[in-house]
């Protein structure tokens, strides 16, 4: 089973490819976390049963595969039928029979399962033509949705581990580092530090032992790119890590995975076991004499462990408190040895760069931000899901072309990037190119790639309060400015959102934020005031309305508004009456409804369901 040489890898790849080619029609079912939640497993089981019972596998040369996340999570469960690329969304087990009869046997397309463009109302047959996909360029996500993450042969068939073979046999470690440096690859986890420079420093640091680690802790709420890669293409991460280990001279390492991602852990473990069996991990990899092995470290559920020094402490079995990094972890990291830590997406890019060449990668994107970036596009946007685009594309293109615009065509208010350390950008920043430096300049940051779209029903003060609450909960508590300071910022915002804001609160927030930024120990604290500072920068009027007028125009801060049904707009459909969890809406059918303000909890269920936008904030 072991693939001991580059030659035998080539043979194995050829065999795997020909096996794939013998399949005439392939049914790919998404089994990412999103689709699983929508019931994709039942679809797979049903397909399996039907196909096997009818012996279709042999007759039609049919293949059935469960894949990682296709990205278009909201429309799941997703089924793609290759080679035509027919894209079915929202597939239920009861649709399976029809899919087999019509599509697989007769070659017909089932109209009702096709995706319908919300703007043009047209049904689209092939997934490559759906705007959500057609504007994307997938490098880190290149194999996801195309291969079975549980099969190393599938990965080898699409050229997997060829990059590792090239690196080990045709390149010196220095050449690998040069290539990564030339590609301009920067860390995708948030900091955007040039990967080549990091690797070089690590290689040059004198030491007996070096480590190569992967950060799959993805703590930013609203981001799930790394989860999807680990679930959908785990071998790409492992291959990238082995290449990196070869380059820096490391012989062991860990993948630090969030415990909230059980499926990612499962798939990574399976992939590691397979890679070991094939000899891509362990001793004498591909006959090169080089050894590297990796094991999984499950995170304990702490956002701060995304910070490199905290992560390394956690890997070493300790409490994940960051330390001051006056000596960088590339020089003194895990067990005080030189350590390279990159995140999942960064590692997944590495084999592609070796295979396709650094120049090709460097021509993508903008000057200092090369290549592509995966984003999780979520929030109040029509097409939520996972997208990968070349750097330099504008926020407007991502949100309105790929994302299809705002749900219900409501007004756009802001987009939040960079997770809790990032910021909220308003409409007039939508034409900014998305790259590391531009976003930072605008007061936000690239972060790991969460992109949360907000409409006019999102309160920016509440959003800032939300992030601070998150950070109060996630601060390790070691240093005073972060522990006490962020808590105090949160207290002030709680007061403002509760309608107890005082004149002078904004100034107090600003001066305290300054100290937190300059005095905190680690990046978590130093960036903790970002959500508040960026919303103050672009949405100061909302803060002032909360404090001075006692109004929350977005209808979020419950003490600062009430709901009213517009007499002109209400059609008396009764939807809101059904939706109200506290029975506070009264009215007869076809008559104007009324809200009982005394019992209304202002949960907004009525406003969400109203089709004619009759529920107003006053």
């Amino acid at each position: 089973m072991r693939i001991a040489t580059v030659q035998s890898l080539k043979v194995a790849a050829k065999k795997a490819r020909s096996e794939r080619e013998s399949i005439k029609t392939e049914v790919l079912v998404c089994a990412g976390t999103g689709c699983l939640a929508n019931g994709s497993l039942a679809v797979v089981e049903s397909l399996e049963r039907s196909i096997c019972s009818r012996k279709l596998t042999a007759e039609l040369k049919l293949g059935l595969k469960t894949t990682g996340c296709h990205g278009f999570c909201e429309k799941g469960p997703l089924v793609v039928i290759q080679p035509k690329g027919i894209f079915y969304k929202g597939v239920k087990p009861k649709d399976v029979k029809e899919i087999i009869e019509k599509t697989l046997i007769s070659g017909e397309v089932i109209e009702r399962l096709l995706y319908r463009d919300p703007n043009t109302k047209e049904r689209i047959e092939e997934y490559t033509e759906i705007p959500f996909y057609s504007r994307q360029l997938r490098i880190a996500l290149r194999n996801i949705g195309k291969i079975d993450p549980g099969s190393i042969d599938d990965y080898i068939a699409v050229g997997g581990y060829a990059g590792l073979a090239t690196a080990l046999t045709e390149m010196t470690p220095e050449e690998v580092i040069d290539s990564i440096t030339k590609s301009g690859l920067r860390g995708r986890g948030g900091g955007g530090f040039p990967a080549g420079r990091k690797w070089k420093t690590c290689r040059n640091a004198p030491a007996e032992t070096r480590y190569v680690l992967c950060n799959a802790d993805e703590g930013d709420p609203g981001a799930f790119m790394d989860r999807s890669i680990c679930e959908g293409d785990p071998h790409a991460v492992i291959e990238g890590m082995v290449i990196g280990a070869w380059a820096v001279g490391a012989n062991s390492g860990s993948i630090y995975v969030r415990e909230e991602y059980p499926l990612a852990v499962k798939h990574l473990q399976l992939a590691i076991d397979q890679a070991r069996e094939k000899g891509f991990l362990g001793d004498d990899i591909l006959g090169s004499g080089f050894s590297y092995d990796v094991h999984i470290a499950r995170g304990g559920g702490a956002f701060v462990c995304g910070e490199s020094s905290a992560l390394m402490k956690s890997v070493a079995g300790e409490v994940g408190e960051p330390r001051a990094k006056y000596i960088h972890s590339v020089i003194r990291g895990l067990h005080d040895q030189p350590t390279v830590l990159n995140n999942v997406e960064t590692w997944a890019n590495v084999p592609w760069i070796i295979n396709e060449g650094a120049e090709k990668f460097a021509t993508l994107g903008t000057g200092k931000s090369t290549g592509t970036k995966a984003f999780s596009l979520v929030g109040k946007v029509k097409n939520t899901g996972l997208v990968e685009v070349p750097m330099g594309i504008t926020l407007r293109e991502i949100i309105f072309e790929i994302g299809g615009g705002i749900i219900g065509d409501r007004p756009f208010k802001a987009v939040q990037t960079g997770g809790p350390s990032g910021g909220c950008l308003p409409e007039d920043k939508l034409d900014l190119p998305v790259d590391f430096d531009t976003l930072t300049e605008a007061g936000s940051m690239m972060g790991s790639g969460g992109m949360i779209v907000m409409d006019d029903r999102t309160c920016m003060v509440d959003t800032a309060r939300y992030f601070l609450e998150f950070l109060v909960d996630e601060s390790c508590g070691k240093c005073i400015p972060c522990r006490e300071g962020v808590h105090q910022l949160h207290c002030i915002l709680e007061d403002i959102c509760a309608g107890e804001g005082q004149p002078g609160d904004i100034e107090k927030i600003e001066s305290l934020s300054d100290v937190i930024v300059s005095a905190s120990l680690c990046a978590l604290g130093k960036s903790a005031p970002n959500p508040i500072l960026s919303t103050l920068r672009y949405f100061r009027n909302e803060y002032e309305a909360h404090i001075n007028d006692g109004k929350c125009a977005a209808g979020v801060c419950r003490n600062l508004f009430s709901f009213e049904i517009s007499e002109e707009a209400c059609v008396g459909c009764g939807l809101c009456i059904k939706a109200c969890p506290v029975d506070s809406i009264l009215g007869e059918k076809k008559e104007v409804h009324r809200i009982n303000g005394k019992t209304c909890t202002r949960c907004g269920a009525c406003r969400n369901i109203c089709a004619v936008d009759a529920i107003k904030v006053v």
Partner: protein, 156 residues
């Protein structure tokens, strides 16, 4: 601290997976203990620390620092409301409030009858289906106020 009986055989089985004296395994082993017992019982932690030659104070610090661990037994049904950003702006807080009032517990707590534990989690990575609630690991997407309560009531 609730006095509980920990089956030492079960604990021993977990310990055997880790080389004795290797303190770096502390968190992994605690995770296994959490998975086995549903919480980290003091007795199991003591056995573990002896096995790994780690002071018990370190195990306690880790068990209280990381969210994955609980020092008290959890309910039969663990309800986790995702409060990630995407879920928040689509109304996760309303769901939390609602569940708190139905179950009469604060987030992070377990009902007296040990049937339900209500937790919030900072993003399960299923943002596209926000707001998300998971019941014993099974995800429910696009949950509207009012619908969750019926599910819980049905189970109660």
């Amino acid at each position: 601290m609730t006095k509980t009986c920990v089956d030492p055989k079960k604990a021993r089985k977990i310990l055997d997976r880790y080389p004795s004296g290797d303190g770096t395994s502390l968190i992994h082993a605690l995770q296994d203990i959490q998975a086995e017992f549903g919480y980290v019982p003091c007795e199991a932690a003591e056995l573990l620390c002896e096995h790994l030659s780690v002071p018990i104070s370190k195990a306690f610090s880790a068990a209280t620092f990381y969210k994955a661990f609980s020092l008290e037994p959890k309910g039969d049904v663990v309800i986790r409301v995702c409060t990630g950003t995407a879920c928040h702006i689509r109304g996760a807080q309303t769901l939390v409030d609602e569940l708190c009032s139905i179950l009469n517990v604060a987030p992070g707590k377990t009902t007296k009858d040990l049937k339900f534990t209500l937790e919030t989690v900072n993003c399960v990575g299923a943002c596209a289906m926000a707001p998300v609630v998971s019941l014993n690991g099974e995800y429910h997407g696009n949950v509207q106020p009012g619908t969750m309560s019926k599910k819980i009531r049905g189970g109660k």
